[in-house]
């Protein structure tokens, strides 16, 4: 301990480290009525770190070559000691992370935290959401199973509906007329280099914006601490008399992460193939389309929408419109009231939208 203190002293004398620690940890005050939903951001950071770590480990044995990809994944699962653990961490982790991401979005939505001055926080978050979808989609192809191959065929094919450029866009995405070895090359580069770097950068922007505006005060719960200013000049939302981030809220974050890990490990050890249909265990065959090819659960609503409308362009446009509306929500919904029960129109729309999404997903699952 004494040695550690000496090292910290040494650094402190040079760069004033204790001052930063005090300001960012013990002196960083959060609203007194902060709730457990605010831990979802930390849970997401943790989940993303886990994906990066397990992903790097998989790269050691995975071979991004159409002839070898499936075999290398089988080798990881069956031969490499604890390879199954690393691979299942990555595959189950991606699903659990999307779940946490949806919950994070919903909590921000229902607490009205996206409102002024946090529009940019919402916007960067929304871009993160799209990038997470992109990283899932590209990662899905990498095992080169029947599921990978045909899910990618269907997903890339939907771009066909776009007028004029559609057919060329599909070919461009695939690196060929059909999904094949060139598709694997580009999806691999996107999945392990381009998108992760983009996500890391956007997480940085997301957190920077959070620091500059200050954490929002929940619209309900215990006594409010903040001074709600809505002027035209920049104002950092302080929380005098609030609870310190360290150790108080850091412990709450840790609890959140522990709960997340408990759910994660429960799936991993008791139902590891929860997210794996049987086509995931058959190597890709470009000449045999399996019956009932379906995307991952969080794309089922998109899938079903495309299925409902006989005209693909309408289905695709509707999805584009819904996504654009969500992305621009803080600029559309500009009222100051944030308490959900005092916003009946907002509540009706968002609960309705949520039920529609769940309904479409269930329909997609059973159709």
């Amino acid at each position: 301990m004494r040695v550690l203190n000496k090292i910290v002293d040494w650094i402190d004398q040079r760069i004033g480290a204790r001052e930063i620690l005090k300001k960012e940890l013990t002196g960083y005050l959060l609203p007194r009525n902060i709730n457990a939903w605010y831990s979802l951001g930390s849970i997401l950071l943790f989940a993303f770190a886990l994906q990066v770590l397990s992903g790097i480990l998989l790269l050691i044995y995975y071979v991004p070559d159409a002839d070898k990809a499936f075999k290398s994944v089988s080798y990881i699962m069956n031969e490499v000691p604890y390879g199954w653990l690393i691979r299942m961490c990555h595959a189950v982790g991606s699903n659990m992370m999307v779940l946490a991401l949806l919950l994070h979005m919903l909590s921000v939505l229902f607490m009205g935290s996206y409102k002024r001055p946090r529009e940019l926080n919402w916007l960067t978050g929304f871009i993160l959401f799209s990038m997470i979808q992109g990283i899932s989609l590209t990662g899905y192809l990498l095992p080169w199973s029947q599921l990978s191959f045909w899910a990618t065929t269907v997903a890339t094919n939907s771009a066909n509906a776009i007028p004029v450029v559609g057919p060329y866009l599909v070919e461009f995405l695939r690196g060929g007329v059909l999904v094949g070895p060139p598709t694997l090359g580009r999806f691999f580069a996107l999945h392990v280099a381009v998108i992760p770097a983009g996500i890391a950068a956007l997480i940085g922007a997301h957190l920077f914006l959070l620091k500059r505006t200050g954490v929002s005060t929940p619209p309900f719960g215990k006594k409010n601490t903040e001074s709600q200013l809505q002027s035209d000049v920049y104002h950092h939302e302080d929380h005098p008399g609030g609870i310190p981030f360290f150790p108080d809220f850091a412990l709450e974050d840790l609890r959140g992460i522990a709960i997340y890990m408990a759910c994660f490990l429960a799936v991993l050890f008791f139902d590891p193939y929860l997210f794996f249909p049987k086509d995931a265990f058959i190597p890709a065959n470009a000449f045999v389309t399996p019956a009932h090819i379906k995307p991952e659960w969080y794309f089922l609503a998109n899938y079903q929408t495309l299925k409902i409308f006989p005209n693909e362009l309408i289905g695709l446009s509707l999805q584009g419109a819904a996504m654009t509306f969500l992305a621009l929500l803080p600029f559309v919904d500009r009222g100051r009231e944030r308490h959900p029960l005092k916003r009946p129109l907002f509540m009706a729309c968002s609960v309705g939208g949520l039920l529609l999404w769940i309904g479409l997903s269930i329909w997609g699952h059973f159709s």
């Binding site: 490499v80 000691p81 604890y82 690393i86």
Partner: protein, 139 residues
């Protein structure tokens, strides 16, 4: 209750929990990364006797490493590890000079594996083998 006693107790519990978690994460990670012993090359290697002519050497993989089988001019056989005892490069057989050259730093070994020139500190280690029915079995 004594507050500092409780603090120490909780501290010990936390440290124990931390150590357990670290072990549960560390062990699979170590096993995942640990080198895989190659079962195929761990056993014996069989080479037909006719493949090694007098004055010539045959290089092959043995126990996950490199080895060489040499038939001297007098017809006798001898097997070595092909790894230079200096800094681990693979030696070459120079048929015209009837000696091993290590190209990395100019080490020389004669056909008995003894160092004749250069920096290698020790002779090439010998590998046991047996000859039966026209086949040489190394290992």
């Amino acid at each position: 209750m004594d507050n500092s006693g409780r603090r120490t107790f909780l501290g010990i519990c936390l440290a124990g929990l931390g150590a357990l978690t670290a072990a549960a994460v560390g062990w699979p990670l170590f096993r995942y990364l640990a080198p895989r012993t190659n079962k195929e090359s761990a056993g014996k290697v069989v080479i037909p006797e006719a493949e090694v002519k007098a004055g010539e050497a045959k290089f092959f993989e043995y126990a996950g490493s490199s080895a060489v089988l040499l038939r001297k001019q007098d017809g006798s056989l001898i097997a070595f590890s092909a790894i230079c005892t200096h800094l681990g490069c693979i030696v070459q057989w120079e048929k015209d000079k009837q000696d091993f050259l290590c190209p990395c730093h100019g080490g020389h070994y004669n056909s008995d594996g003894a160092v004749t020139a250069g920096p290698p500190p020790k002779p090439l280690p010998r590998i046991p083998f047996s000859v039966a029915g026209g086949n040489i079995t190394v290992g």
